[in-house]
Symmetry: C2
Subunit: 229 residues, 2 copies
């Protein structure tokens, strides 16, 4: 290691967010039309530059907050992209984060500071720079995480039906699941609260609503429980 801090190069560090949402059947990402050069008018992830007074986590939260007014969003650092010419305007690195947005907050986001639009992950438009690579990596990461952490719940409203939960996992994992096996598995985890309420919009019989029991989950984790779906 060279000992000299003062001779080391400084670089521009951007931060881009892959914002996931879920809308009944499909996993979505939120994109904006870039409103400045280069690549003005093209679809892009939501992003910004890191300030030297903040951490990356803080920058990610700031950017999401500015976009949406939303606090307390699930965020996870993904990877730092550093190809020399990834941004044609100037040498810029970018640390990608992914965020999981509760369906109830979708509208708030699309109406926020940017003309943002939700796209099915499978039907996303061409993106600027290396943003497509970021999205691909985020999907893989989400897929892996969702199996061993109850991340999914971040993407659902507070109250949800079993079928919604199943459809969500099917969308994340991009496969079909057997209804009975799925319910048996979820029930075996014993981290849901079954409410007395029913969602009557989908059928005559109505389907029971559930809530994620965070306290119970956290306690189980303490006791060495390993979530696995």
């Amino acid at each position: 290691m060279l000992s000299n801090y003062s001779t080391a190069d400084k670089v521009l560090l951007a931060l881009d967010c892959i914002i996931f949402g879920f809308d009944q059947h499909q996993l979505k990402i939120l994109l904006i039309k870039r409103d400045f050069e280069p690549e003005k008018g093209k679809w892009s992830l939501i992003g910004g530059f890191l300030k030297s007074s903040e951490t990356l986590d803080e920058a990610a939260n700031r950017i999401l907050q500015h976009l949406s007014g939303l606090d307390d969003i699930y965020l996870e650092q993904l990877y730092t992209f550093s190809e020399i010419d990834r941004d044609p305007a100037e040498r810029t690195l970018s640390t990608a984060y992914y965020a999981l947005i509760n369906s109830e907050d979708h509208q708030q986001l699309a109406d926020g500071a940017y003309k943002a639009q939700w796209f099915n992950v499978k039907e996303a438009p061409v993106l600027i720079f290396d943003h497509a690579e970021m999205v691909a990596k985020a999907i893989l990461r989400l897929r892996r995480r969702a199996i061993t952490k109850p991340l999914g719940f971040e993407l659902l409203p507070e109250k949800f039906t079993m079928l919604q939960l199943q459809k969500l996992y099917e969308a994340i994992l991009d496969l079909e699941l057997d209804k009975r096996n799925f319910i048996n598995k979820v029930n075996a985890l014993d981290i849901l609260i079954k409410l007395d309420e029913k969602d009557m919009t989908s059928s005559r019989k109505g389907s029971f609503l559930y809530k994620f029991d965070k306290e119970k989950y956290d306690q189980k984790i303490e006791e060495g429980f390993t979530f696995k779906i």
Copy 2:
């Protein structure tokens, strides 16, 4: 996103490497005594600053190359650390990489450009800055990766015995494995070449040496094979 590149802050970006090795029974990491301020004389990961003319992968390779003369080392980006005061000298971010070093190259490394020393991961000394956190994260990542990618082989000499392979996995996963079950599992993967040669140093009978069959592995991956140990 603010449209103005020119008003954005630039930052110092360091790169630190968690270098893993394996020595018969224990998973090791390579550390150096830092030879400049701050924290001069304390144990540290091997690192350096990113140059604006190179990618992070290139910087990681350069730093390892300078340290060891070794090329073609397994490297993977881990995480970018950005706590404000992580380096007391100056606001510095650091992207951590981890590397897997073949036992045959161990000596070359310790004799290289630095007074480097191998430590059992369980008996590592106090490290500067947030390096302990980096190491902890690297171990978790390695553990997860080793289960679904044949990374382990990067840590072994070209020819190895089944027992060495088992001990390696035991060291990475930090648990004991059953000899017969392990061998059955590895044989079922069908990605090793059994040589006619024996290692006679460990017993009278001698134990057969094996090589990892990269071609076969790559071909199986193409065909949708999923490695799982």
